[in-house]
Assembly symmetry: C2
Homo-oligomer: 339 residues x 2
């Protein structure tokens, strides 16, 4: 069995997460038991939710255990199998974690899923045709419930969720406006992802300034907002929401370091009769087949061209992850573990 590099959570962040919270460990891969499969990981997905799990705090997910391999989504290839349903060479998606190989009890429902790479690249199963894509789908379709002609806004617009959101929103006939950091991302959002407009939040020092930019980009106001960041951006968007607007709260990355992140004008929820709803896509597995079908078609037909930011080698994962938390990635953040 091959040697396996892993990254463990060594200690919990105090405030901002740092590279010293992680530790590289080399271990032997255990022998397979009956029903198990050995997966060689091609890509590891880095996602903002992982920051929340690094804290030892009440949250929707169990905290990441100390001294254990960091959890995370992976795609790869079966290299050994003691399970009749998986053959060597099968391409699979699972939760292999921050390591080069994983041994998976493939009998557990949902633990490992075979995927087709004829029309969809393997890495897309960690992005547009994976958890981030379904996240965008659930927030848009099930919480925001868009109508053609309405205006939809998403923050972190060029990320994996934002990219999918744009394609799904445009497919429903909505004006679709992104919020992203920097001119390159904003240009990319409009030129490649199909956004009607994209606002560079870094040009705005406060919520009133961002609110004015939103007014220009959303002349009919905002009917649906998909929240990935929180803080000033949410404050600004709230001032432009139309009556009966819907806000799907998927992330508040601005608050993950534990700094207080108040909402300045909650009374707008009442004034505009808004619905603000938090959700976690893994609690809605029933929608995955429908969502993945639409997302797969969008990718296969070139309507969803999701960009990837790929770090090379497991050792690069901590820095890539810390960069993601600061918005330094451009598109879906992946780590290449094996070719």
């Amino acid at each position: 069995m091959p040697q396996n590099k892993q990254i463990h959570l060594d200690n919990r962040p105090v405030g901002e997460a740092t590279a010293s919270n992680f530790k590289l460990v080399v271990s032997e891969t255990p022998q397979l038991k009956e029903g198990e499969v050995l997966v060689r990981h091609h890509f590891l997905s880095l996602d903002p939710y992982m920051r929340g799990r690094m804290n030892d705090a009440k949250s929707y997910a169990q905290p990441q255990a100390l001294g254990q391999t960091m959890g995370g989504g992976t795609v790869g290839e079966v290299v050994a199998s003691k399970n009749a349903k998986f053959a060597v060479g099968d391409k699979v998606v699972g939760m292999g974690g921050w390591q080069q190989y994983s041994v998976v009890d493939a009998a557990q429902p949902g633990a490992l899923r075979k995927v087709d790479t004829a029309h969809i690249p393997l890495s897309a199963y960690l992005g547009a045709v994976g958890m981030p894509g379904v996240t965008a789908w659930y927030g848009l379709v099930k919480i925001i419930e868009p109508k053609a002609g309405q205006t939809m806004v998403v923050s972190a617009a060029t990320g994996a969720v934002g990219s999918a959101f744009a394609a799904l929103s445009k497919a429903r006939g909505c004006r679709t406006v992104g919020i992203a950091g920097g001119p390159d991302k904003c240009r990319y959002a409009v030129d490649e992802l199909g956004f009607d407009a994209c606002i560079d939040y870094k040009l705005h020092m406060d919520a009133p300034s961002l609110s004015r930019a939103l007014k220009e980009a959303c002349p009919k106001g905002i009917d649906g907002y998909f929240e990935n960041v929180g803080g000033m951006v949410l404050d600004a968007v709230l001032t432009r929401m139309n009556a009966f607007g819907r806000i799907a709260v998927c992330g508040m990355i601005a608050g993950y370091d534990g700094a207080p992140l108040p909402l300045s004008y909650p009374a707008l929820i009442l004034v505009n009769r808004l619905k603000v709803q938090g959700f976690i896509v893994s609690e809605h597995m029933e929608v995955w087949p429908e969502a993945l079908k639409e997302l797969g078609t969008l990718v296969a037909t070139g309507k969803l061209k999701a960009r990837e930011s790929i770090a090379d080698g497991l050792e690069a994962a901590p820095e890539a992850f810390l960069g993601l938390l600061k918005g330094r990635n451009f598109g879906k953040q992946l780590v290449r573990l094996h070719d």
Copy 2:
């Protein structure tokens, strides 16, 4: 035709509302035209939403016009009629405003509604069997969607909305906890209104302290919250919400004077996958018949004993209203205009 005392909005509040914002005016009652009805008001309803209308700000309701009679719900008796559907002596509920008499074009749908006073006192149509009651009903039934055994919390618990909320929530088999100001109100909430517990927010200087009291009163956490006040109370409740909790936002009285009223931990909406939804009952007229039927039965059978705070005479209305905004009322705040 009788002389008619009215209270006009003379000027808009700067910060806190004061008695000098209002002006008493005496006018002649105009002659009735075809289709009109003259109503002699017995009671005027005072409600927190009126404070919002005094501002010249974007809100769900049009601002109250300056130099015009303050709007408001009234119950009274028809004393002259040029409309075949209304006879002298009929008891009616309408939006007569802060005045002793109103001339109503009774042909307009919903302008005037005849009510039965055999089993339900006339004043109850401004409270438990009126707009406040339906407000409680809509928030509980349509937004919170309670299940038997869950825990429901309401702020301003002894007010008209809170009283109705308690009866409706108990009828659905929920543990029902109130938040009110002062020991008298809290005792009344438990002894007379059927609350399982009531917390005196005046005993708590900050949200963490109130949160601890909520933990004790709601050992299984909070599944549904009906928000009337905002501010510290909302901050504290948010820390005790269970996963998938629902918050119906009906009022944020603490912010009506224009002071900023931030929400300290909006990330809890995500962490606990909450739904937070604002609403205005007048936009949901379709539920009124069903709601009024249940509320009328609760009052007629003595299961909803709503207390009233009655100020005497139109001249007392401004002070009673300002007291309401400070929580000085105890139960539904009314003004008696005529016996």
